[in-house]
Assembly symmetry: D2
Homo-oligomer: 354 residues x 4
Amino acid sequence: MIAVLKKETTDRQIHDLTEWLESMGLKVHLSRGDYATIVGLVGDTSNIDRELLESLDIVESVKTISEPFKKANRKFHPEDTVVEVGGTGGTGEGGSEGRSEGGSTVGCVKVGGGNFAVMAGPCSVESRDQIEEVAQAVKDAGALILRGGAFKPRTSPYDFQGLKDEGIELLEHARAHTGLPIVTEIMNPNHLPMFENVDLIQVGARNMQNFELLKELGKINKPILLKRGMANTIKEWLMSAEYIMAGGNENIILCERGIRTFETYTRNTLDLSAIPVLKELTHLPVIVDPSHATGVARYVKPMALAAAAAGADGLMIEVHNNPSKALCDGAQSLTPEQFADVMKGVNKIREVMK
Amino acid sequence: MIAVLKKETTDRQIHDLTEWLESMGLKVHLSRGDYATIVGLVGDTSNIDRELLESLDIVESVKTISEPFKKANRKFHPEDTVVEVGGTGGTGEGGSEGRSEGGSTVGCVKVGGGNFAVMAGPCSVESRDQIEEVAQAVKDAGALILRGGAFKPRTSPYDFQGLKDEGIELLEHARAHTGLPIVTEIMNPNHLPMFENVDLIQVGARNMQNFELLKELGKINKPILLKRGMANTIKEWLMSAEYIMAGGNENIILCERGIRTFETYTRNTLDLSAIPVLKELTHLPVIVDPSHATGVARYVKPMALAAAAAGADGLMIEVHNNPSKALCDGAQSLTPEQFADVMKGVNKIREVMK
Amino acid sequence: MIAVLKKETTDRQIHDLTEWLESMGLKVHLSRGDYATIVGLVGDTSNIDRELLESLDIVESVKTISEPFKKANRKFHPEDTVVEVGGTGGTGEGGSEGRSEGGSTVGCVKVGGGNFAVMAGPCSVESRDQIEEVAQAVKDAGALILRGGAFKPRTSPYDFQGLKDEGIELLEHARAHTGLPIVTEIMNPNHLPMFENVDLIQVGARNMQNFELLKELGKINKPILLKRGMANTIKEWLMSAEYIMAGGNENIILCERGIRTFETYTRNTLDLSAIPVLKELTHLPVIVDPSHATGVARYVKPMALAAAAAGADGLMIEVHNNPSKALCDGAQSLTPEQFADVMKGVNKIREVMK
Amino acid sequence: MIAVLKKETTDRQIHDLTEWLESMGLKVHLSRGDYATIVGLVGDTSNIDRELLESLDIVESVKTISEPFKKANRKFHPEDTVVEVGGTGGTGEGGSEGRSEGGSTVGCVKVGGGNFAVMAGPCSVESRDQIEEVAQAVKDAGALILRGGAFKPRTSPYDFQGLKDEGIELLEHARAHTGLPIVTEIMNPNHLPMFENVDLIQVGARNMQNFELLKELGKINKPILLKRGMANTIKEWLMSAEYIMAGGNENIILCERGIRTFETYTRNTLDLSAIPVLKELTHLPVIVDPSHATGVARYVKPMALAAAAAGADGLMIEVHNNPSKALCDGAQSLTPEQFADVMKGVNKIREVMK
């Protein structure tokens, strides 16, 4: 951390400040200039409140040098984290070889460290037929994880809020049917018991800074899919991952899903440059959701290909067996045929990326 | 709601669409043009999923005409809502005349409909001395409600998270001491029992779309201070108010606290034009928090005056008895003397605004 | 300027860097830490290319301490600049007492340093009757400068582009008629001869970084009204002022007119916090244009009052004698009666601000 | 165009409005609802000023249905435009087979309609050796067009402004040497004579709405590379293309180069979803500049691959023979070796995209 002092700061004031900072266990390096004095703080600056320091009369500005995230930081954990979804992750039984459930074996899907995984399924779970049909279709096309919304965050209280616990049960049926691990969104820490058999728990964009929820998810050992808030910086996103990791749960997959900008042709602006930035800053896997980012089915394919080419560890794509009848977000869902076409393109890109 | 159909839509398709829409109880008005056919939907369109309609192959675009918020809408409730904070609002005892507590009478403060209220106090509650001292100071300067953070939403899990229930108790002491009703932030619906004696419950910017929390707050009858999310539109903000109101609690005060933009000299960009926009769209009172918006103590006064001049129903201002020792956000807090100066200026503006 | 070196930088590399920087006449202060080495550069760092320094392999980041604008910087020019518009400013004749023209004396209007000036008039100059009628009306209400567009920057090539030189002539007629100095927008340095008799030359938001135009305006001695680009930071805005000032013309008035954000109820988001920020950073006067910022006539009054309360040195407001017939931007223009009402309110605010 | 009238509009008012609209040659379709009356306008609505209509007292809102750009619109020009750069395009001599210059034949490079072209070279032209060396290196790696800045738009007047006409001459030397057509930026319509031998004229992001410059470029028949303004919507961008096309010059290549958002790890946020959006809206070719968008050399490769995968018609990439000595933007330039590696990756992606 560096503090720049105002030109008019007296020696006495500098002395007092130095003493105070040293009392917090820091080494202080002074560099006096014609226009400003620079105070370099070396040591563990996490005890220092940056804004407090900035508020001092003699301080012109404070600049942080090191990143505030520790457990998510690649500097202290250079190898890629590989998150395992399903298998033992789901219920504690089985192993990385997958576990048996219903007639199928639930796969153990690796994400990150060179393992690419596509999660696909409908925006909302609507009925047993629907989810099983879509599950089979996306599995046939190459998806490894089944997605489906049971609890739906809707801007309006008057819109459909999801089938809730019944939706989760339907997802479990589809898992038993196909062997695909399941991912679905949580909105309330009190709902955690209902998510006991969910393989990957999703935190949606609107809850990225719901710190109370993140803290609870830090106490379990299930993998978490953490979506980026629609107006949150990469740093804030990693700090939210840090909230979960600080509690002990380091199985986190990050998901870029578009940020809010002034452009209106797409619902949000997909920030694909976040992929190489994150690959540098963190060891956690990063996937991309082109369906929510663009909000338009016909833009999903080019953005899915682009995400794969940019180095993403996976994709999350909305697929519906009949988009025109979807109860929500229909306009952004692909048909199973369109999804199969996307998968073909993505596989080709993945092939040449090796 | 208006749907614009593509040029190449056939008569048959238009007929099917019309029939389907009419089956949902709507009147359908067709307007055929050379370039497009326009379908006007008249009646209760709340059953129609806009995105579903947009996803249909024959539909070029859908435009909503009426606002999606109902209970918050001024059209259906032309008079200003006046929210009462404290008095009976706090604990159920007492009346709009205020109630007795400790040695003091807790005032009943009206916000909205011409009633202007300033809420002031420290960012975080730190100690009994601190909160009582600040409470007395802001009361002396003209504040009507005491603010103070007990639960603190912090970007980093390693930062101070607030004194929690102990902080609320200290606020209650300060209320007993000064008679000022208290406002503090809630982050978790499970904490509601701790907020039983809080007069006004704040929902912070990061939780504006924590719909599960909003639903719980809709079930109580205590007034809610709903801050705008830092990247949320006015419409989304009103929809979040609608979440609370749909549950039955219509005592909501909106608080503008700056939005995220590309400008970096201020922490956020205070959107004062939201005030006249909201005055038009809704009957709910609107206050402004210039402390969090700018993040800089010396910009608080001009922005407080501007907010008053723009027609705000109140202000929320951070005041600390010793900013340089604040545990958080010190750089944006005013001293009691500076706050008294702001109040003088605000009162003068209020005077000429009548 | 501060450069933070990577942890793994060798002594040899640090030595080479230091030598290179010292060869450019800088004093170099090293501060070695456990995690990073900090290089403080003291002296005239304007020769250093910041991005070049950042590109070096051993450099983690570079932070600038002092502001890059010099002539616009309040640090080197603590007193407010007062810009004089009209009088001698217009044509070289007359004095600060105003000059004679037609039947009227053209006033010399001071802006800044406690002098508050309102500029008002139609978006576009349309006809002699129109501009003279509006000019008289805004003068009667208290405006000191007449605005009117002759060259119009329109998003579409098919929209009305202004009356051009004929528009300027009509403005001159209206000036002769009322004695109000005139302000109008320039879009092309080649048009400068047509602006010889214009009292204040406006650079519009879209041309804020048209550096070729700014350079030409630096060579003349006429006051310039520099509008903020709709997505430009305050720092970039001041650098654009610096472009003009570097050429020798220091008569600049800054005009905040709203920035582009995600909010859509207003055309742009008026950034009133820019006023106190600019008051701190620069000695140049700052005015506010609430008409373009909001794009809605009924929001102009609250935003005009707020701007005055926030400490602006003036306002620019669109007034039309018949908004519904305006050829452009009609929806944001006030009638003369509405404008007179705004002026009354603004004057009251100005009164209590003293 | 659709106008929604307020509920309280009288029959008389509707009649007057209808008559006025019909007098402008439009067919008017009325649709009366319980909450609003909808006026559908069919015919050529380009004469209607949307904002004027919105300003009428009885009008609640106005919605446009068709796009305001005509010549750039794919609806009226379904096939892809192929822009030819160099060959006859450069000087009028030669043919699409290329022309002779110096010892080399200057190629005719096609962009769009399946033709993918990479433009590469240094940010600024610095010396004959530099530009010739880089030109040869990028040619060897597979670039088809040489880029290099002669006139540089710099935020600060104190920064290096480019070698100007001398820079263009050096580019011409490099063209003679390698046969690569050249692209360089224009900032002032008065400089056009200096650009007579430039093959492709670039309009930079800051000048995207410099309408006076666009108009002049509409009068020539040389291809134009139009970069997106950093805070401009896709619609505004196409309107700027329309400015050039309206003048008669339809040889335009669009270049996405990142938009301004709140994220700071990258200089701007590359909006790759603009590619499929533009492919739908317009027939003009679209290329991507990952160097300026990210501002960081090590993010250029993933973003270049992503752009190719998303369907771009080409790339513009900064390459320098020695990034650490670049006079500007060094941090974002690739070495020739890095560029060759990017080209290899891009070619592989292009291969599987067929």
